[in-house]
Symmetry: C2
Subunit: 409 residues, 2 copies
Amino acid sequence: MKAEIIAVGSELLTPHHVDSNSLFITQKLNDLGIEVRLKTIVGDDEKDLVDLLQQALTRSELIVVSGGLGPTEDDLTRTAVARALRRTITKSPEILEMILKRFAGRGIAVPKINERQAELIEGAEIIANARGTAPGMWIRENSRIIVLLPGPPRELEPMFETLAVPRLQALAKGKMLAKKQFYITGMTESEVDAKAAPIYIKYPGIQTTILSNTRHIALLFSRQIDSDECPTDLEELAGKVQEILGDSVFSTNGQPLEQVVGIQMKSSGRTLAVAESCTSGMIGARLTAVPGSSEYFLGGVLCYSNDIKSRLCGVSENTLKEFGAVSVETAEELARGIRSTLGSSVGLSITGIAGPGGGSADKPVGLVYVALSDEQRTESHRRIIPGDRDSIRERAVSFALSCLRRFLR
Amino acid sequence: MKAEIIAVGSELLTPHHVDSNSLFITQKLNDLGIEVRLKTIVGDDEKDLVDLLQQALTRSELIVVSGGLGPTEDDLTRTAVARALRRTITKSPEILEMILKRFAGRGIAVPKINERQAELIEGAEIIANARGTAPGMWIRENSRIIVLLPGPPRELEPMFETLAVPRLQALAKGKMLAKKQFYITGMTESEVDAKAAPIYIKYPGIQTTILSNTRHIALLFSRQIDSDECPTDLEELAGKVQEILGDSVFSTNGQPLEQVVGIQMKSSGRTLAVAESCTSGMIGARLTAVPGSSEYFLGGVLCYSNDIKSRLCGVSENTLKEFGAVSVETAEELARGIRSTLGSSVGLSITGIAGPGGGSADKPVGLVYVALSDEQRTESHRRIIPGDRDSIRERAVSFALSCLRRFLR
């Protein structure tokens, strides 16, 4: 089955908005083994929408339309769909009842304008909306299906999940998508591909996707299966890929790096303190994005100035003078120092040149040192990170957490 | 003139990708007074793309196509456009020359596969690509214009800006978009609208947009003008809106809050230190996202644990015992303490409950205290911020920077 997604709303054609609903819908459709072949964003223009729906009906078996179901004149999805299908529209007592209840619950009368939302297209089934007044609709047109959903994600998502997905599942005749995912750190995208490609090209029936961002590289494998099928080829491929990537894989269940590190910290019963120079708080921010991180994260020092590096983090003035703030020596003294100042079991430090200024031939923009220290040892790592100030800093945080994860193993 | 944007690439139909190019292109077109009526994302499927181009030619005067100009079999934009326009394709010596030079510069021979990128559609003008091998094309078809651009944003953006925009400008016959923007802090979106709406509804010819995120509220006004026209109505509206919003407006030129605060700090010659509890580094991270922030930002302490609040930031154990870590008393001692520990002219502190756990009837999740201290005074601010852990923390940072901005005035 091939699907297309239409998002309706002039605000989605401004430079400020992306159509995030279509990502959610695509994910859910892909999980059912349904491919999305086309996505369109159209303004609040009835003629454009009618034309588009008629074209969509000639090529796609499933058409999911979001938006344009509100109570105002701008909201013309109902009339456009009725026109495209040459069907009538009637006021539905059932929907009116739902709307009445909703407003009664808030202790107010139904505004006249909202009665428009009780309009039902001939032959459509109602998809109830637990979080708003606009119901969705499920419409069959010969062998095609059209699903109408309201635009706000908090209304659309539960409606699609609980009411559209089960119907589509029944139509998909027990098909589903089997998936394996690997989150990888400490390698570049091309290094990952160079290692994995000789394996995955031998499984042409399995779809491979590599995604890269400042946090990690994700390697995704998927194949449509019958719901009672055991995808042994996918298991086999995943096993081989895990073997070749080894320790660089930090998650196969979608957990981010800061959560994986958090689990390591908790299970070891140790505590952590950070000294951040070039990232100035970004490591602390990311570690504490995990609820419950106060169990192992004590805190840290943002040692942006050299004076703070010496006074609070125990770096000797000699080291700063002789080797500079961005050096392996300073990084290691910072890691030992922050551990001692804050009284943690593990100390993590980072120092580097985020740019755009401050680089030299010796120490270019992007140069970063990370050091780790505990009661037994201190170790350090050097890397030159490409990109602009923002992405250097973000990648530096991921690099530091990646070093921490290995240190804790 | 009405435009539509087509993005080509199967990867853009996965749940992991948004088409960010279209936002950039929309911004540039809107600036020229050109409206975007439709956006489509299509996979690497020649028939779908040909059909789509033919439909687009019947309804839009300008069609901007991004992606599908690479060297591989998947890259079929050139052939699809040629088919849709019934034109031929030839190898262009001029493009081949460009590609040769590019590879020669890297000291390698042109791979056979890249020669495909020298294909030129009959009658097309070449749009040179300074950052990649795929050139763009500018094609006239009767009164329609089709612009082809490569998918990677770092190639597409300068090509569109320097080569497509001037040609479009010439076609737009001196039309342009006049704009006024206000970035606002310390008010909710509905408070802003309640104040501004009675003014802007009197200017029906001017388009108003209100956008809200965790960083600020943006109020945007725009109207298409002739390039030699002075939009006095827009100036008048902006003047009245500035008057009613007063001090809540922190930027009218798009500068983010951390940059505005940075300019205040620089011009005052003062220095800043932060003590962060619930945000644990996010304030430091945002302040230092501004290049050159080391001139005024000394650093800070992530005082996630109570022990660090007392040992490094001078909060008395009594205060913590009597009033708790999230209290006005702790916030003020933190601000004074961090100023003294780090030797800065201004101390900024934040303490709060980011959730999801840790809230109580007295001190609910979202409760945040910000304090500021200098040589003359200490002040504090309390707010209850709605949302989940991530958005509470992000909004808390904006709240703190907003307090700092007022403190520095």
